[in-house]
Amino acid sequence: MEKKNGNTSLITSNQLRWFYYLVPVAALIIPFVANEYLLWIVNAILVYTLVTVGFNIIIGNLGQLAFANTAFFGIGAYTSAILMVYGGVPYTLSILMSAIVGGLAGFLASVTALRGIRLYYLAIITLAFGELMRWVYLHGDDVTKGSDGLRIPDDIFFLGIPLDSEVPKFFVFLLLAVLLVKATSNLMRSRIGRAIVAIRENEATTASLGIHTARYIVLAFVWSGSVVGVAGAMFAVLTERVLPEAFGLTEVIIHFGMVLVGGTGSIVGSVIGAITLTTLPEYFRQFPGMDELFFGIIIVLVLLFLPKGIVSLLWRISPAFKERYYRD
């Protein structure tokens, strides 16, 4: 609109905002056209959207190679499942608890980063954290039921809506995803989001601007942990049984792949990444045995030719798609 630099793009950022609001509204039609299988994939996409959005805060915005994301995911799922199974806690409340416990796990993970451990060293330590958590699920038999997995109760309600098939799950998941994506977007386009990105760009300089870097590193991890924790609580209901196998190293790699394929540090990219890497494996079902090969090749190609992720294709359409760390 009031662009001074002679921006002649087709789409203004104002129009784009309406487009973003339209996406979830348009998605409301999906349950009327999709069967349970397709709807399950859509629901999985909604879960993975939050997983990726949360992970991207650490990887993309904060720029830290911390791989504790799958641990947050599992912790969220188990928190919710355990509370529902043993405590009779309503699902809605258990989601909140997953967010809190996930946030605490995020805090724990941030301590390593605060000790000044960075890059690959941080990556390896956070991987170890995730694998140790998996060992706990496997050996915490009395509570987690070991590798049998914890079956969540049949009669689950979200604010009175019974989550007994994919359709109600879709609406609830969509609501949660929209709310958390919006909240994360608010956060990233504020002074807090700028501080987090500034730390990625140059930690020393950031402090010189009066920004308490340690506080924002912790905040990024805690927020990431909470968002992914909620995703975990959704995953528990999606799969109806929480199993240790679902939170292994393969899952770490898939989450990482989603962030990079979509685009680091971009919320739109996170959504694209979640959609791409949830649907492609389903598409590849027709070529059995070639999953890993395709997965590897796709990511290699994206890294080589679209280093900023698929979202960068949108930037070619209009620079308005580039996410800013402030809002007009």
Partner: protein, 254 residues
Amino acid sequence: MEPLLKVQGLSVNFSGLKALSDVTFDSFAGEVRAVIGPNGAGKTTLFNAISGYVPSTAGQIFFKGEPLHGLAPHDISVKGVRRTFQTGGLFPEMSALENVLAGLHVQIESGFFGIVLGLAEAREAEREGILRAKRLLDLMDLGAAAEQPVKDLSGGQQRMVEIVRTLATEPPLLLLDEPVVGLSPPMRDRMMDIIRRLAGEEGIGIMLIEHVIDLVMSGSDTIVVLSSGELIAEGTPEEVRQNREVLEAYLGHA
């Protein structure tokens, strides 16, 4: 006049090596104070010590009478001592506007919940910050470049953005580490002009590290000369020019 910054007997050791030893001087509001000296004299270490990036081994630093030594960099910055860096001080992937907004961080008063929930107050605070940042960029003729990532800007523009970012909160004391390095001569003169104006008109205390002696002599009120970590001379450009020790220090290391 009460000094803005008091440095008393400041020493910094790096694993036994003396980077600074027993440096003492005062700095005042509205004054441009240059820090010069041969390579390795400890100029940047002095800035790092004042701004909290390296711990001091001995000595004290006071800003407006309050001790700064032992504080973390961000606390010192909040108190009103701001600095720039020799190289790579900007956030290259962020736009000029975002860089300046990051500089305004502590002045934008929006709380966590207000931000997350998108409350009106938080948005208002952000909006004010954005207006302010845009105004500042316009003042420096950077309005057109506001939306571009700073890595795409020219060297001169980048320097300007950094100065704008550092000045955004109107700090009483500014530490500039080689602010004109890499700039073309006309840009250099313009930059020195801005610096002089900031000190003269806004009453900001400025300390700067500079190698180009002409600029130092013409642009500063007071000069501090460091050599091998020691303060060997302090005074007006004229006084320093005539100091024999200074000449020796430069020739000895040349």
